[in-house]
């Protein structure tokens, strides 16, 4: 009896720990494409980018129960055959399994924009951050594509390091999809106060420069000087290695509320950013949720499910009701959210105003679906309880 976990991030780690907690005592092999043990990514756009990257210092503590895990790092899974119960690595190694955990996560989306590629960067891994770290120097012209959380956090860090920062995004306001236009505008004004320039409603048509990117051309004809371009325009699920197995790979890997993948061929679960899972708190519509707490929540459930399946037992069919939560630190502001503000159709600032500490409620026809606070974390606790009661 053996388990292979593809993905050595937080979801892979929590799945291994959860398998052990649920009584699975057999061998576990974890495959990771990065050369590092599971580490914490949020600091990569913030303090680690500003203060230096020490990947060992970012490593998660690993529970004693997973000390015997075989970590195959620096090598990605190239393919899997669920019928044969094998995963094949890029170096040709074939790993047989009785149970498979899909935890291969996501990668930054790259847009096909003409021009040189040297000077174009993304921020997902510690190696990405190490490369960027040397480039965010005082006076450097930094262009950030995309006004989501990663783009905005990186903008704040680049400003702190003295770079000249412009954000180019097709959206009308930064972080508009999760936060809505009014709070997005408040966040934009905070960034503008700190010297970030916004070019909203525009895309980048082309990069220019002979050997490397020297400038970017926007869709309205504006030309901006560029020493560094950081592309933060969303993500793509790493599902390619699963092709040919008849799985539903529409936007990640579709799973049920126990994180089980529908297939008769093998015992398979999926966790973390890649798992398109139903949440009974929010209508049970399968969604991928790229929040930091979801690999832990889905990993806990998936480990218990897989341990039960491997023991010949029925896994729990209880609804999945983990509370989505995200937070973001930009400059001195702490933004925190509970629930799914992105699915709201009515947004109300209930305390303060969006230029200062505030609480914003997000509703749809089913009632309160989310809350966001800026510098009001203790006051969000009753909201979280109210959201949890939607179950």
């Amino acid at each position: 009896m053996s388990v292979v976990i593809v993905g050595a991030g937080l979801g892979g780690l929590r799945s291994a720990e959860s398998l052990r907690a649920a009584g699975y005592a057999g061998p576990i092999t974890v495959v990771g494409d990065e050369p590092y043990l599971p580490y914490n990514r949020p600091p990569l756009s913030k303090e680690a980018l500003a203060g230096g990257i020490d990947v060992t210092g970012l490593e998660f503590r690993r529970k004693a129960t997973v000390e015997d895990v075989d970590w195959r790092l620096g090598c990605h899974a190239a393919s899997a055959s669920l019928a044969d119960h094998t995963v094949t690595l890029a170096d040709g190694t074939v790993l047989p399994f009785d149970g498979l955990v899909i935890a291969s996560g996501i990668r930054p989306r790259r847009l096909p924009i003409p021009g040189p590629t040297e000077g174009r960067h993304v921020l997902r891994t510690a190696d990405d951050a190490m490369k960027l770290r040397t480039l965010l120097t005082p006076g450097a012209h930094v262009i950030i594509m995309g006004a989501g959380f990663i783009g905005c956090e990186t903008a704040a860090t680049a400003r702190k390091l003295g770079a000249k920062v412009a954000i180019v995004a097709i959206d009308a306001e930064p972080m508009i999809r999760p936060l809505g236009a009014e709070l997005g505008a408040g966040m934009r004004r905070r960034h503008e106060t700190h010297g970030v320039r916004f070019h909203l409603g525009h895309s980048i048509d082309a990069f220019s420069g002979r050997d490397r990117v020297r400038s970017v051309a926007l869709s309205d004809g504006t030309e901006l000087p560029a020493d560094v371009v950081i592309e933060a325009v969303g993500s793509i699920a790493n599902t390619e290695w699963l092709a040919g197995n008849g799985l539903d790979l529409t936007d990640g890997v579709h799973v049920d509320s126990s994180m089980r993948v529908a297939t008769d061929l093998a015992q398979v679960v999926a966790v973390g950013d890649i798992a398109r899972h139903p949440n009974a708190l929010f209508g049970g519509i399968p969604r991928r949720i790229e929040h930091w707490n979801m690999p832990t929540e889905t990993g806990r459930r998936a480990g218990a499910t897989l341990a039960a399946l491997l023991a010949g037992d029925e896994p729990s069919d209880a609804p999945f009701t983990a509370m989505p939560s995200f937070w973001s630190d930009q400059y001195d502001y702490a933004l925190q959210s509970f629930g799914m503000p992105g699915i709201a159709d009515r947004i109300e600032v209930v305390e303060g105003d969006t230029d200062g500490p505030c609480i914003v409620e997000y509703h749809n026809t089913s009632g309160l679906v989310g809350v966001v606070g800026i510098d009001r974390t203790p006051d969000l606790i009753p909201y979280r309880k109210q959201l949890a009661a939607r179950a």
Partner: protein, 69 residues
């Protein structure tokens, strides 16, 4: 006569890491809470029966500031 050893679980929070996100407060309500200013307040020694909740609290800390022994 000596008092029997009562098994406890001990928590340490690294204040230089804690950002007051409060995620731990939902996993172990009896151990962690945020005060009015958003500062984390916690009970260092708890009955061993709280251990699972406390380990979960340490797992969900975004800054990985909680140590359980």
């Amino acid at each position: 006569m000596t008092a029997p050893d009562i098994p406890v679980v001990t928590v340490y929070v690294d204040r230089s890491k804690c950002q007051g996100y409060g995620q731990c407060c939902f996993e172990a309500e009896d151990v962690f809470h945020l005060d009015e200013d958003g500062k984390l307040v916690y009970v260092a020694d708890s009955d061993i029966s709280h251990r699972a909740d406390i380990v979960n609290a340490a797992d969900v800390c975004p800054m990985q500031a909680i140590t359980v022994s």
